[in-house]
């Protein structure tokens, strides 16, 4: 009796797992039939971001400094009042083509100051930003919590395209949505945006009119253009070394292709005449 048991233990264990899985399968199927999943407003009305063509796209993408400067301007004039950029330092702006004096001036004039504590009195005061400072934290008193934007282009699926679509995607809630899902009305203080995960975003439309910011390079500041430029800028803040990475990658892969070809030649030479 016992040897038979030890010999068939594997079958017993295997059959046990399969039996429990069968029970689970029956359960899943019955639930599916009894209570089929109800469609939700998010499932039916959420949209994937529109394609966005940026110079930094693709494996060989580069930064377009003129666009990044325009994008920084949009960030400075529009986004910065609520959203911080806490992983970026003012000195990093030199990579966008600003010179040292310009960067110092941007830092000095930045409306949100660096908090400093007086070690003698224990009280808090503030000082002007220096080029070596990170962009200061923004304390937002309103409802919602505006996320830090440093990494936003990496922290969302489709990154920059998502930012661009979100900024240009505000619209009135479609009548058919309300007809189908009467309870899904956008709550007060929220705004309908089909590119946002749950369709209702707390952020009011930030880019509303042409020439909201004044571009100095003659580019027409349409809402779409401003959204594009700030998306491009946020690709840079998310990874300032992107262009270096692409350039290094080309050299590395070309070298490796050459080295691998040599290694293949060495392999053929060593094995010549030895059948395998």
């Amino acid at each position: 009796m016992l040897p038979l048991f030890t010999r068939s233990i594997k079958f017993i264990i295997g059959a046990g797992f399969i039996f429990v899985l069968l029970l689970a399968l029956i359960g899943t199927v019955t639930t599916l039939i009894k209570e089929p999943a109800q469609p939700t407003a998010e499932e039916e009305f959420h949209k994937h971001p529109k394609e966005l063509d940026l110079a930094s796209n693709g494996p060989l993408g580069k930064f377009d400094n003129a666009q990044l400067q325009r994008g920084f301007l949009v960030y400075e004039k529009v986004c910065a009042s609520c959203h911080s950029l806490n992983l970026v330092s003012f000195r990093d702006l030199q990579q966008l083509g600003y010179n040292e004096a310009e960067v110092k001036k941007i830092a000095k004039d930045w409306p949100i100051k660096q908090p400093v504590q007086d070690p003698k009195a224990g009280t808090w005061g503030e000082r002007d930003n220096l080029a070596s400072d990170r962009f200061p934290k923004v304390y937002y008193p309103g409802t919602g919590s505006p996320p830090d934007l440093s990494l936003i282009a990496k922290a969302r699926h489709d990154g920059a395209a998502y930012v661009h679509s979100l900024l240009t995607g505000y619209q009135n809630q479609p009548a058919e949505l309300l007809k189908k899902f009467p309870t899904a009305k956008t709550p007060d203080g929220s705004y309908y945006n089909p590119y946002f995960a749950n369709l209702n975003i707390a952020m009011p439309p930030p880019l509303t009119s042409e020439n909201q910011v004044t571009y100095s390079d003659g580019t027409r500041a349409t809402v779409d253009q401003m959204a594009k430029d700030v998306s491009a800028f946020l690709v840079w803040t998310a990874e300032p070394t992107l262009q270096t990475r692409h350039r290094a990658g080309v050299a590395v892969v070309l070298f490796l292709l050459f080295a691998t070809a040599l290694a293949y030649g060495a392999y053929l030479t060593v094995w010549r005449g030895v059948k395998h």
């Binding site: 594997k10 079958f11 264990i13 295997g14 059959a15 797992f17 399969i18 039996f19 429990v20 899985l21 029970l23 689970a24 399968l25 029956i26 359960g27 899943t28 199927v29 639930t31 599916l32 999943a37 494996p59 992983l87 970026v88 990093d92 990170r134 996320p147 990494l151 990496k154 922290a155 969302r156 699926h157 990154g159 995960a197 998310a238 990874e239 300032p240 070394t241 270096t244 990475r245 692409h246 290094a248 990658g249 080309v250 590395v252 892969v253 490796l256 080295a259 691998t260 290694a263 293949y264 060495a266 392999y267 030479t269 060593v270 094995w271 010549r272 005449g273 030895v274 059948k275 395998h276």
Partner: protein
């Protein structure tokens, strides 16, 4: 160990003679991975993956040691130190970080191919059971190390991954919750958990390196297997590891590095999850918590158990998930067929390819949101996974009629009765 015709180490350089006579380390290396190790002559490219796994381990250790010099292991500083300091201010920090993150994926990819090579060619069978057992231990250690490493950036997926995985232990009856709190050093992942994960993440790779030495040692007792599964019969069946397989591995390393570099330099975030670029927030649960791709098949098995039967569904899931790996330890005794290579086992060969497909589908399910359709597919595939190892393979190994085996490796290579031909071809070259 090794074959009688293995070459002997004879250092010509007086310095090496001096060293070798006092500490035979050069001799040891020569016999392990040099000309002193005779290897079957008919290995195909799937035999490159052991060396590639070793290379991936070295890459992870080297990049990891340098990253650790800049990493702050605290809940307040970890995210900032990686995404701020390392990615922006450390010289080539972005390269180290992307190499380390994608290196983990390359390591697991290579390991999976290596394991499936072993399954196809019966590498787990006598006399190589010990090689297989140590290999499964290495696999478990690598998975633990990879999991703890993924927690260190302290992004949303890091935090919630740690929450879910340590939550497995709370499925244990009575003492489960107590064990979970003890493992985490708190009620939820925080500084204590992050610090111990960092400590262990730095320790385990060296434990893995030790286990790799045992893995290679155990392999060198019987010598390497080969695609025919026929044992080495004589000198004509083998070539010295160096220069033959060092040259072949050099080519394999080149291909590996091209793929690895393409990921690092052009698609560094392809295999990651965007949510891990959001700092950990204990108050906001991500919509879909998914582990890294290499855990997806096991995650699908975990989620497939949705029915309470004697014990709660969650405990079934945890037992099955760990069981799905633990049962690999018993494989040498589940598959009793004396024929190793699936090339000569028509039945097993079909079962093997079904298993490959099964694990791929499980992986797809594990990476997707748990909709009813996905759960149903996972349940069917999980059932086959267990059936494959515990029922199908044992039965096939008893009933199957294997195809005739070649008399020797050399015969398989040359298509005749071998022997003398080897010397002839070698002479002509």
């Amino acid at each position: 160990m090794s074959f009688p015709w293995a070459r002997h180490y004879e250092p010509k350089n007086p310095v090496m003679q001096w060293v070798d006579s006092r500490l035979p380390l050069p001799r040891f290396v020569y016999n392990a991975i040099g000309a002193g190790y005779p290897v079957p002559r008919n290995l195909n490219y799937f035999w490159n993956f052991g060396v590639l796994a070793g290379l991936a381990l070295v890459v992870q250790i080297v990049t990891g040691i340098v990253l650790a010099m800049h990493f702050h292991s605290s809940a307040a500083g970890a995210f900032e130190s990686i995404n701020g300091t390392i990615m922006r201010d450390v010289n080539a920090g972005w390269f180290l970080r992307f190499a380390h993150a994608n290196g983990a994926s390359m390591f697991l990819l290579v390991i999976y191919i290596h394991i499936f090579r072993g399954l196809y060619y019966g590498s787990y069978k006598a006399p190589r059971e010990m090689v297989w057992l140590i290999g499964v231990v290495i696999f478990l250690l690598v998975m633990a190390t990879a999991f703890m490493g993924y927690v260190l950036p302290w992004g949303q997926m890091s935090f919630w991954g740690a929450q879910v995985i340590t939550g497995f232990f709370s499925a244990i009856p009575v003492v489960g919750e107590w064990i979970r709190v003890w493992l985490l050093g708190g009620y939820a992942p925080d500084d204590a958990a992050l610090n111990r994960f960092f400590s262990l993440h730095y320790l385990l790779p060296f434990v893995i390196a030790g286990a790799v030495i045992l893995h290679i040692w155990a392999l060198h007792i019987p010598g390497s297997g080969n695609p025919t599964g026929v044992e080495v019969k004589g000198e004509q069946d083998t070539v010295p590891f160096h220069p033959y397989y060092t040259a072949k591995d050099g080519f394999g390393v080149g291909i590996f590095m091209i793929l690895f570099s393409t990921l690092i330099f052009f698609y560094p975030d392809l295999l990651g999850h965007p949510d891990n670029y959001i700092p950990a927030n204990p108050l906001s649960t991500p919509a879909h918590i998914v582990p890294e791709w290499y855990f997806w098949p096991f995650y699908a098995i975990l989620r497939a158990f949705t029915a309470d039967f004697i014990i709660p569904a969650k405990l079934w899931g945890v037992v099955a998930m760990f069981g799905s790996i633990i049962l690999l330890f018993f494989l040498p005794w589940l598959d009793k067929s004396p024929v190793r290579s699936a090339n000569f086992r028509p039945g097993y060969r079909i079962a093997f390819w079904i298993l490959v497909l099964d694990v791929l589908v499980l992986g797809y399910c594990g990476g997707s949101a748990a909709t009813p359709a996905v759960v149903i597919v996972s349940q069917i595939c999980a059932a086959y996974y267990f059936a494959h190892f515990l029922i199908v393979v044992p039965i096939i190994s008893r009933l199957e009629r294997p195809k005739p085996l070649p008399n020797s490796i050399t015969e398989a290579v040359l298509g005749d009765h071998g022997g003398s031909r080897m010397t002839e071809t070698a002479l002509r070259a």
